[in-house]
C-alpha cells in the first residue's frame, strides 16, 4: 500500500444523511448515484420492452392500443440510451478515472454533482408525458418531423428533456477531459493511461461535438411547432429530410459514445484474466480515435432508402465499411491478448468474451447493412432491430455488467457470489440469443419494425423471441441480488482483488477510503497499465 493511501485512511470523513448524496462532490458517491440511476432506468426501459414483447407474443392486438405501443417503442429507446447506457458509462468513469490516473477527485466536483442531478429532473419531464393530453412521444426515438410534430402537450417536454440530457452529458464530458488533462499523477503520461481512460477521453470529445447538433435540431423542431419557422416544413420551404441528416449526424457518433466505454472496460478485463499485458496498446489508442473520427462521416447509411445521389450513397457505403478496419484491429488485439495467456474465466471475463463474440455478430450484420443495395432489402425490418440490439445489449450492456462485476469487490470491499455471477452470465447469454437472433430471420422474411401486429407467418418466431425477452429481463434481477448481497457482506476482497490486475486503482484498499490520492502517487512503467 502506498504512503499516500495510509495517509488518506486517517482523514476518511464521510458526510452523513441525505446531504451526503444531494450535495455530494465526491467522485465515488456521484459514480454510485449514476450507476444506481442507470440500473433503475434499465428496469424502467426494460419494463417497456416487456410490454412490447407481450404485445408481439401473438399476432393481433392483445394488450395495448397501437398508439401506446408506439409510445412504448419510442420511450423504451430514449430511456435505455439516455437514461441507462450513458449514465452507466459516466458512473463507471466517475468511479474509476480518478482512481486510475491517481487524481484525488474529478477536476470540477460541483459541476459533477450538477451533471448528475439534472438527469432525474430530465427524466421526470420525459416520463410525465405519459399523463399528458396526446400521450408520450410515439414517433420513434429519432423524432422525425412531421410525425413528431403531431405529438400533443408532451412535445415541449420531450424537447426540453433532450436539452437537459445534452447539457448533463456535455458537462460530464468537459469534467472528464479536465480531469485527465490536468490531474494526472506525476509520471502518468498519456501513453501510460489505462485503455478505459483513453476510451473515455475520446468519448468525451465525441459528446462535445455531437450533442450540440442534436440540441440544435430539436430546438428547430420546437420553433417549427410554436414559433412559425419552417426549417423542416416542406409547405414553408423547409426540408423534413434535413432533420434526418441532422439527427444521424448526432445519432451515429452516439453509437460510439455508447460503445467505446464498453470497449474500454473489456480492455481492462481481458488482460487481467489473461495475465498478460494488453496486446498492441498504441494501436488500440489509435484504433479508438479512428473509430471516433470516422463516425462523423457515415451518418447517411441510416438513410440510404430516403434517396440521395449515387455518389453520396457510394461515399457513405465505403466510409461505413472503413470503420470495420479499426474495429477489426481492436478485436484482433483482444484475441491476441488472450492468446497463450494464463486464462481463467471469472464472471467479468465471461462477460468480456461475450462482448467479443456477440458484438462481432452485430458488427457483421452492420457491415451487411452498410452495402447500399442490400440495405434497401433490410431497411425498416426486424433485421435492423436484431443488428442494433446485438450491438447494444451484448455489445454494450454486457461490457458495463462485466465492469460492474470486475470493480464491485474494489468498490464494496467484498467479493461477489461467483456462482450467482456465472449463473447470471449463462442465463443472460442464452436468453439474449433466443431474444435477438431469430429477429434476423423474421427481418429477412420481411417483418417490419415498429408495428404492433404482424402476419401470422411470423407467429412462431415471435413467440420464441418473447420468451427469450422475458427470461432475459427476469435474469437481470440476479445482478441486483448479487450487488445487494455483495454490498451487505461476503468474503473480504484483497487490495489487488484479481491476481492479474495492474494499475493504480488496485494499489488502494478495498473499499478505497472516501478521499484517495490526496498526495499524488508516482507512476512508473511498473505501476502503469501498459
Amino acid at each position: 500500500m502506498s504512503e499516500a493511501v495510509i495517509h488518506d485512511d486517517h482523514h476518511d470523513h464521510k458526510p452523513s444523511g441525505i446531504g451526503r448524496w444531494l450535495f455530494s462532490t465526491n467522485h465515488k458517491d456521484i459514480g454510485t448515484m449514476y450507476l444506481v440511476f442507470a440500473l433503475i432506468m434499465f428496469f424502467v426501459g426494460g419494463a417497456m420492452s416487456m410490454v412490447i414483447r407481450a404485445e408481439l407474443f401473438q399476432p393481433g392486438i392483445q394488450y395495448v392500443d397501437p398508439q401506446f405501443y408506439n409510445s412504448m417503442v419510442t420511450v423504451h429507446a430514449l430511456v435505455m440510451i439516455f437514461g441507462a447506457l450513458m449514465p452507466a458509462g459516466v458512473g463507471l468513469a466517475n468511479w474509476m478515472v480518478p482512481l486510475m490516473i491517481g487524481a484525488p477527485d474529478m477536476a470540477l466536483p460541483r459541476m459533477n454533482n450538477m451533471s448528475f442531478w439534472i438527469l432525474p429532473f430530465a427524466f421526470t419531464l420525459l416520463l410525465s408525458t405519459f399523463f399528458m393530453q396526446g400521450g408520450a412521444p410515439a414517433g420513434g426515438w429519432t423524432m422525425y418531423p412531421p410525425l413528431v410534430l403531431q405529438l400533443g402537450d408532451g412535445f415541449p417536454y420531450l424537447v426540453f428533456a433532450v436539452h437537459f440530457l445534452g447539457i448533463s452529458s456535455i458537462m460530464g464530458a468537459i469534467n472528464i477531459i479536465a480531469t485527465v488533462f490536468n490531474m494526472r499523477a506525476p509520471g502518468m503520461t498519456f501513453m501510460r493511461l489505462p485503455l478505459f481512460v483513453w476510451a473515455w477521453i475520446i468519448t468525451a470529445f465525441l459528446l462535445i461535438a455531437a450533442m450540440p447538433v442534436l440540441a440544435g435540431g430539436v430546438t428547430m423542431l420546437l420553433t417549427d411547432k410554436y414559433f412559425g419557422t419552417a426549417f423542416f416544413d416542406a409547405a414553408g420551404g423547409g426540408d423534413p429530410v434535413m432533420f434526418q441528416h441532422i439527427f444521424w449526424f448526432f445519432g451515429h457518433p452516439e453509437v460510439y459514445i455508447l460503445v467505446l466505454p464498453s470497449f474500454g472496460v473489456i480492455s481492462q478485463i481481458i488482460p487481467t484474466f489473461s495475465r498478460k499485458p494488453l496486446f498492441g496498446y498504441t494501436s488500440m489508442v489509435y484504433a479508438t480515435a479512428s473509430i471516433a473520427f470516422l463516425s462523423f462521416f457515415v451518418w447517411a447509411h441510416h438513410m440510404f432508402t430516403v434517396g440521395m445521389p449515387l455518389t453520396g450513397e457510394l461515399f457513405f457505403m465505403y466510409a461505413t465499411m472503413s470503420i470495420a478496419v479499426p474495429t477489426g484491429v481492436k478485436i484482433f488485439n483482444w484475441m491476441a491478448t488472450m492468446w497463450r495467456g494464463s486464462m481463467t474465466f471469472e464472471t467479468p471475463m465471461l462477460f468480456a468474451i461475450g462482448v467479443l463474440f456477440m458484438f462481432s455478430i452485430g458488427g457483421f450484420s452492420g457491415l451487411m447493412m452498410g452495402i447500399t443495395p442490400v440495405d434497401f432489402q433490410y431497411h425498416d425490418t426486424y433485421f435492423i432491430v436484431a443488428h442494433f440490439h446485438y450491438v447494444i445489449v451484448p455489445g454494450i450492456i454486457f461490457g458495463i455488467i462485466g465492469g460492474i462485476y470486475f470493480w464491485l469487490p474494489k468498490w464494496t470491499g467484498n467479493m461477489y457470489d461467483e456462482k450467482l455471477g456465472k449463473l447470471h452470465f449463462w442465463i443472460s447469454t442464452i436468453s439474449v440469443n433466443v431474444l435477438f437472433f431469430p429477429m434476423h430471420f423474421i427481418g429477412l422474411a420481411g417483418m417490419p419494425r415498429r408495428i404492433p401486429d404482424y402476419s401470422v407467418q411470423f407467429a412462431d418466431w415471435n413467440s420464441i423471441i418473447s420468451i427469450g425477452g422475458f427470461v432475459f429481463g427476469a435474469s437481470q434481477l440476479i445482478l441486483v441480488w448479487v450487488v445487494i448481497k455483495c454490498v451487505r457482506g461476503g468474503e473480504k476482497a484483497t487490495d489487488q482483488v484479481w491476481e492479474g490486475a495492474h494499475g493504480l486503482e488496485w494499489t488502494l484498499p478495498s473499499p478505497p477510503p472516501f478521499h484517495t490520492f490526496t498526495t499524488p502517487p508516482k507512476v512508473t512503467d511498473a505501476t502503469a497499465h501498459s
Partner: protein, 41 residues
C-alpha cells in the same frame, strides 16, 4: 511542500480547469448556436 506553494499550485490547477471549461464550453455552445444560425440564414 509548504502551505504557500500548495495554495499557488491549487490556484494554478483551478486556472487550468477553468480554461478547459471555457474552451470546451465555448465549442459546445458555438456548435449549437452556429448550427441553428447556419440553417436559419
Amino acid at each position: 511542500m509548504d502551505k504557500k506553494e500548495q495554495t499557488s499550485q491549487k490556484k494554478e490547477l483551478d486556472r487550468k480547469n477553468m480554461l478547459v471549461v471555457i474552451i470546451l464550453g465555448s465549442i459546445a455552445i458555438g456548435l449549437y448556436a452556429g448550427f441553428i444560425y447556419f440553417y436559419s440564414s
